[in-house]
């Protein structure tokens, strides 16, 4: 299981949890597992950047980027607020 950091805008879907666990050998599997645990995340994750070990998966293998158990996965959505 890897730690997934949930951004504030998606915490209503994870019962307020800032970090949750999900499993998968790559990002696609991990996100599928995450949605199976928190079904209301469906359709909302494609707007978040995904970082594995601090690196953007777009600069690695995208959804096929491997995830190790020790990796923290960060979901980072755009936030407009400067308010």
């Amino acid at each position: 299981m890897s730690i997934v950091r949930i951004p504030p805008t998606l915490r209503a879907d994870t019962a307020g949890e800032r970090e949750v666990l999900a499993s998968g050998g790559n990002v696609r599997e991990l996100l599928d597992d995450l949605i199976s645990r928190f079904p209301t995340l469906e359709g909302k994750l494609e707007y978040a950047n995904v970082y594995v070990g601090g690196e953007d998966i777009r600069t690695r293998d995208g959804l096929e980027t491997p995830v190790a158990e020790s990796d923290t996965v960060i979901l980072l959505p755009a936030m407009a607020g400067g308010c």
Binding site: D56, R58, G81, G82
Partner: protein
Amino acid sequence: MPVISLGEAHEVLYGDAVFLDVREQSEWDLGHVPDALHIPRAQVAARVEQEVPDKTRRVVVYCARGARSQIAAQTLLARGYERVANLVDGFTGWEEHGLPAVVPSTLPDDQRRRYSRHLLIPEVGEAGQRRLLNARVLLVGAGGLGSPASLYLAAAGVGTIGIVDEDVVDDSNLQRQIVHTTSRVGEPKVESARETLEALNPDVNVRTFRERLTSENVDRILGEGWDVIVDGADNFPTRYLVNDASVWHGIPVVHGSIYRFEGQVTVFKPREGPCYRCLFPTPPPAELAPSCAEGGVLGVLPGTVGSLQATEALKLVLEIGESLIGRLQLFDALGATFTEVALRRDPDCPVCGENPTIADYIDYLEFCSR
């Protein structure tokens, strides 16, 4: 023309020789030989006999690299000075060899006192403080992020601070927007901010733009010439507009955004690192990106994030340290953690990529409401 080497010149430095610096004022201000006499080359003929009446005295003439000083030395020879020598390696060579140099104080006493804690830091010092006093920083938004950022930039002595904001102060702003006050509710934010910043530091010239940044006015406002933009906007259309304009104007943007207990800070420097579109190619739908007005924000959070933005802006002006270019800091106030992620340029970026497909301002409202 008699010449003198660096070694010979150093030997006579503290003797009876006079070192004559013929460079321009701006070069002199950055450092010179101790106890040197400064007469810019064009004024040598008119002033040297008054400043050095003894024509038997040894005179070492120098400029940056020995060219201007050769001309000045000829002027001295023609006027009967007997022991003139040109320092052919110039002050550039002098400094490269680590020979003694001093940086003159050009700040008035009141500024020396006000900025004394900056002057004590080797990385800032007088040269850095002068840079700050000559710097121009544009703040987009005088709200949560713009408040602490503008206060610290003004306190630091950033000479010109521009502020773009069309709103008026609302009492719901005061929980976090510390540049405004209760008595200014209803006043334009740019005027309220000006009052606070000028009261904090009269050295600062505040340039106000009481308007919303748009495709129509952005070139006029950015065209005034800014060293750094601090982006504290509160909506996606302005974020994308600031990005595109900054890439085309070549101005670095210190980006900050906040929501509830979390903030993001990074620096987008055109050509040296990614831009906002490399990071977020498309804005999220509105329901996935609520504003602070909808979702709230801890009042001190913009204090943390806006202060980090001010720090990065000062570093860019001073050209010191490691900038947040290509790195994003994610601050989580609840966890009290900073997490860094790497940002990369997208070669296919429609604005800063190798083959840009967007070359002029678009309809940003439409782009962000799809």
